[in-house]
């Protein structure tokens, strides 16, 4: 399968390599989970919540676009490609193993509770990340993070309330949420291991993110009368392009038109 990365000359040693990879990582996270949420449109449990989740998806598509556009600008600035690279090239013309999103974001929707919980685990991470990123040395990333932080603040509020509601709702909803938590928990540690930021010379306090995230998650899960899994069996690999089959399936759908009719305007 053709990849846009074949048209970009970006050796790992290039000074801009780190920041480009990190920006793509931030973009991929936002896009992949936005896409997942958008799959719910028209199928939510009640109109009001259908609309709510679509709003979150729209915020996240917006964030992804901002990051992709910045990555494209970096490619142009550094003369890394003989053709003009666009936001869509990154989204539509890379293979699954070229995506750098966390595995959590690509997990399939499951039931409404799984989706809510996935959003809560991710948004909470994104919140503490953006809080630091808005002050980082790269002014472009800082600006995007600063704007997105307001959105994410609401995502955390909305999703945490729903986690509590469903956790402490009925016996059935409680069980469903506990199952979802057990199912998603192995993907959480990947969020907290950082990695790509330092190669981009973005200094973040990973330990602080981990502490803050753990605190928030612990308190919400407790309020939801759920139990944090004790298992330390974690799965990693998303940031290196080692994905679960969910992503391949998702991209097949998402990239279908661009792949079938290459090189045209839409």
């Amino acid at each position: 399968m053709e990849s846009i990365l074949d048209k970009i000359q970006l050796p790992g040693s290039h000074p801009a390599a780190g920041i480009i990879h990190y920006t793509l990582h931030l973009a991929d996270n936002a896009l992949v989970i936005a896409h997942r949420n958008s799959e719910w449109c028209g199928h939510g449990p009640i109109l009001e919540q259908d609309i709510a989740l679509a709003n979150i998806a729209l915020d996240l598509v917006g964030q992804a676009r901002n990051f992709y556009q910045y990555a494209a600008a970096l490619i142009a600035e550094n003369n890394l490609s003989s053709i003009t690279i666009t936001e869509d090239d990154f989204a539509y013309l890379r293979a699954a193993d070229e995506f750098k999103n966390f595995l959590l974001t690509e997990q399939s929707n499951g039931h409404w509770g799984t989706t809510i919980l996935r959003q809560f685990l991710f948004s909470t991470y994104q919140y503490f990340l953006y809080r630091q990123l808005q002050h980082c040395s790269n002014e472009h990333l800082a600006a995007i993070a600063q704007k997105a932080l307001k959105e994410v603040t609401y995502h955390v509020r909305w999703s945490s309330e729903w986690v509590i509601r469903l956790g402490d709702g009925t016996a059935e909803s409680h069980q469903k949420m506990q199952d979802a938590l057990n199912e998603l928990w192995p993907f959480t540690d990947e969020l907290l291991t950082g990695g790509l930021a330092s190669a981009a010379n973005i200094s973040l306090d990973d330990t602080l993110i981990k502490t803050e995230w753990t605190e928030k998650i612990t308190s919400v899960i407790a309020d939801a009368t759920l139990h944090l899994p004790t298992s330390r069996q974690y799965v990693y690999g998303g940031t290196e392009g080692k994905h679960t089959p969910h992503l391949t399936a998702m991209l097949k759908d998402m990239q279908y038109l661009q792949r079938t009719y290459p090189g045209v305007e839409w």
């Binding site: 009640i46 009001e48 919540q49 609309i51 709510a52 709003n55 509020r157 909305w158 309330e161 509601r165």
Partner: protein, 93 residues
Amino acid sequence: MNEWPLWEVFIRSKQGLDHKHVGSLHAADAQMAIENARDVYTRRMEGVSIWVVESKHIHASSPDEAGSLFDPANDKAYRHPTFYDLPDEVKYM
């Protein structure tokens, strides 16, 4: 099955204006009603503040009483500034 209650939504479209009734929605509790109102009724920057009240708590005057309630105000023209004839020289009043 018990349907989520209905809530009336009032939105202040910008600072300095009154909250205005914009419609209704369903929500299980007040917190959710505010968030639903935000997601449903302010997607195009229509608001800066939201009130929600459960519809059952709204007490309305009856249309049958409209005559006795509102018509009597009809003949009190002296409450309105245009009722008074002042010479043109009087300014700023």
